[in-house]
C-alpha cells in the first residue's frame, strides 16, 4: 500500500506543480521590481495612432485586449486578440506574451489593469510589450473614432491641480499664504505685425 501512496503523492506533485500553467517564475526580485523604470513600456497616444493607422503594412504589432470575452465581443481594436487578465499565465495565452517575433500592445478595461499586466510581465522578464494607459474607450474615442491624440487626457499620474493652492482656496485659507507662480510664456509667442499684411485674413 505504501508504494501506491508514494506513487500517488509523487504523481500528484508532478501534476500539480506543472499542469496547465506556463512555468515562469519571477525574474526581478520584488526590490528590483520596485526600482525598475516604469516609463519605458508605456506607449504614447501619438505612437499608438501611428501604429493603428499604418498597421495594414505591418503585422509585427499585436494588440492584446485584457477585458472579459463578453466586453470584447461588444467592440475591440481591429485584429486584437482577447486574453482576459486572469488567464494571462495559462499556457495558451502565455505563448502570445512570450512570442518574441511580435511587439504586443496591451490594453484593458482600465489604466490600472494595463499597469498590472505590464508590471507583471516586467517582473517575469518579458520586455517586448507596450501598455496603453486609459482603456479601450480611450482608444476608441481618441484614436479610432476621432483622431484626438493631443487633447485627450492620457497620463493620469501627472498632477492635475496645484494641490496646495486648491487647499488654500478651499474654505477660508488659514495659515497658508498662497504663492502663485509668476506668469510665464507670452513673450516668445508674440505676433508682430508684418509690414505688408496683404489682405490679412484675420
Amino acid at each position: 500500500m505504501k508504494k501506491y501512496i508514494i506513487i500517488y503523492l509523487v504523481g500528484i506533485l508532478a501534476l500539480t506543480s506543472c499542469n496547465s500553467k506556463e512555468s515562469r517564475s519571477f525574474v526581478l526580485t520584488p526590490k528590483e521590481a520596485a526600482k525598475a523604470n516604469s516609463q519605458t513600456n508605456i506607449i504614447s497616444p501619438q505612437l499608438l495612432g501611428d501604429i493603428y493607422y499604418s498597421r495594414n503594412n505591418t503585422t509585427i504589432y499585436q494588440f492584446i485586449d485584457l477585458r472579459t470575452p463578453q466586453v470584447f465581443e461588444n467592440g475591440h481594436v481591429k485584429n486584437a486578440i482577447n486574453i482576459p487578465f486572469r488567464t494571462m499565465t495559462r499556457n495558451k495565452s502565455c505563448r502570445y506574451f512570450l512570442n518574441q517575433d511580435v511587439i504586443n500592445i496591451i490594453y484593458g478595461e482600465s489604466t490600472e489593469q494595463a499597469i498590472f499586466a505590464g508590471f507583471f510581465l516586467q517582473q517575469i522578464g518579458v520586455k517586448n510589450y507596450f501598455i496603453v494607459l486609459g482603456n479601450y474607450d480611450f482608444i476608441k474615442d481618441n484614436i479610432i473614432d476621432h483622431y484626438n491624440v493631443y487633447s485627450a487626457h492620457y497620463n493620469p499620474e501627472i498632477a492635475q491641480y496645484d494641490y496646495a493652492r486648491i487647499v488654500a482656496e478651499t474654505a477660508g485659507a488659514r495659515n497658508y499664504a498662497s504663492s502663485p507662480k509668476a506668469a510665464k510664456p507670452a513673450a516668445t509667442f508674440k505676433r508682430k505685425k508684418k509690414s505688408a499684411a496683404g489682405g490679412g485674413c484675420d
Binding site: 508504494k3 508514494i6 520584488p30 521590481a33 488659514r174 495659515n175
Partner: protein
Amino acid sequence: MKKFDVIYVGLLLVGAFWAFVINSANDEPIDRVQPCDLLDIVSQTDKYMTTDELARRLMSDDPTLALIDLRSKTEYDKYSLTGATNIPLENVLDDEYVDIINQDIQTVVFYGNSSDLAAKAWMLTKRLGYQNSYILKGGLNRWVETILRPREPQETASRVEFERYSFRKAASSYFGGGSALGESTTTKRLSAPIKRKKKSAAGGGCD
C-alpha cells in the same frame, strides 16, 4: 522496495530543504506567491479605497490608517495628505520601511497623483503576501475632484448622491484651508508598527 521509498522520501526532503535554503539565503523579502497566483490575487482581491471612505476615516481620526505617499520628495513637500509618510515607489520595499508596509494591524493606503504608482506598490505587497494594503482610487487628482471640490449633483439625482454631496462638502471644509499641508505634518510618525508574524507554509507552488 523499501530502498526506493527511502530514496524518494529523502529526495523530496532534500528538495524542500534546498528550496527553503535558497529562498532564505537571500536578503530579499521572500516571494509568497507564484506568478500565476499573483494574477488571481490581483483580480480577486479588494484593491481600492475610495476617496470618500478615506475622508470618512481621516475625519474620524482613525488611528489604524497608514497613508503612504509614493511620489517623489519634491511633490510630497508641496502637498500631501495629513499624516502621510513619503516613500517613493522605488524605495517602498527598502528595509527601513518594511515595518510600515508589512503589518496587519494598520490599513496601508497607497497613493500618488493617480492610481498608477499605487497599483504597482500594491501589486508588490501582494507578491510578498502582505495584508491590509489598498490603493486610493484615483489618487490625489480624484481627491481634489471629489473631496476638495465636490460637484453638486443634478436636481434629478438620487438621494444617495445628495447625501454623498453633503458629506463631501463637509469634508471639503474639513480638509480645506491649509489644514492638510505636507510641511506641517511630515514630523508625524506612524504609531509603533506591529510586526506581522511569518506564515508557516509558503503556499502551494503553481508553476
